[in-house]
Subunit: 103 residues, 2 copies
C-alpha cells in the first residue's frame, strides 16, 4: 500500500478508505503497540519480529500521513522520537475492539 494509493481517492466503498488506514502487513500490529504505549523506532524494531527498518519506517510515515499517529521529537542525550496516537487514532480503538469480539 503506497501513500499514493492511500490518497488516490477513487473509492466507491465508503469503508474501504478506512480499512486501508490499517492495511499492510505490519500496520495493525504497529497500531496495537501504539495503543499500549508511545512508540519508539528501535523498540518497535525489536518488538516486531520478521519486519525491517525500511518497511516499518514507511508504515510509520503512512500512519502519520493519514493522521493516526503523530511524531514527537525529544531532544535528549541520544535523539529520541516518539509516535503517539492522535485523537483520530484513539477513535479507532473501540471499532477494533469490536472486531476482536467477532473472532
Amino acid at each position: 500500500m503506497t501513500t499514493k494509493n492511500l490518497r488516490d481517492g477513487k473509492e466507491t466503498c465508503p469503508a474501504q478508505g478506512l480499512l486501508k488506514l490499517l492495511s499492510g502487513k505490519w500496520k495493525p500490529e504497529i497500531f496495537r503497540l501504539a495503543v499500549e504505549a508511545p512508540l519508539r523506532f528501535s523498540s518497535l524494531l525489536r518488538q516486531i519480529h520478521g519486519s525491517n527498518k525500511q518497511t516499518l519506517s514507511v508504515a510509520l510515515r503512512e500512519l502519520e500521513d493519514v493522521g493516526l499517529l503523530e511524531k514527537v521529537v525529544i531532544k535528549q542525550k541520544p535523539l529520541h522520537i516518539e509516535y503517539n496516537l492522535t485523537e483520530k487514532g484513539k477513535s479507532l480503538i473501540p471499532v477494533l475492539k469490536q472486531l476482536e469480539g467477532l473472532s
Copy 2:
C-alpha cells in the same frame, strides 16, 4: 493477500486477522455489494470496473474460505451461482458502518 497468508495464523494482533478478511484491492467493494444483494459473477464483473475475472474469482473464493460469503448453485436455464452473506458476514456490517462514521 493469498489464502495461505489468510490462514497462517501467526497473528499477534487480535484484530489483524479480521482486518485481513477484507484486505485486498477489491474485497471491501465486493462485500459492500454483497450487503445490498446476492452476488452473481457476471454482474460483479460488470459492476466492478478495473478488475478482472481471475482476481474477482480468487477474492470470492477467499471470502468464502473465511466464512463471510456462501456459494449457492442454482440450476436454471443457464447455470446461475449466487454468493450470499453468511451470519458471520452479516455480523461485520455494523462494524463497517461504524468505520464509515469515522471518516
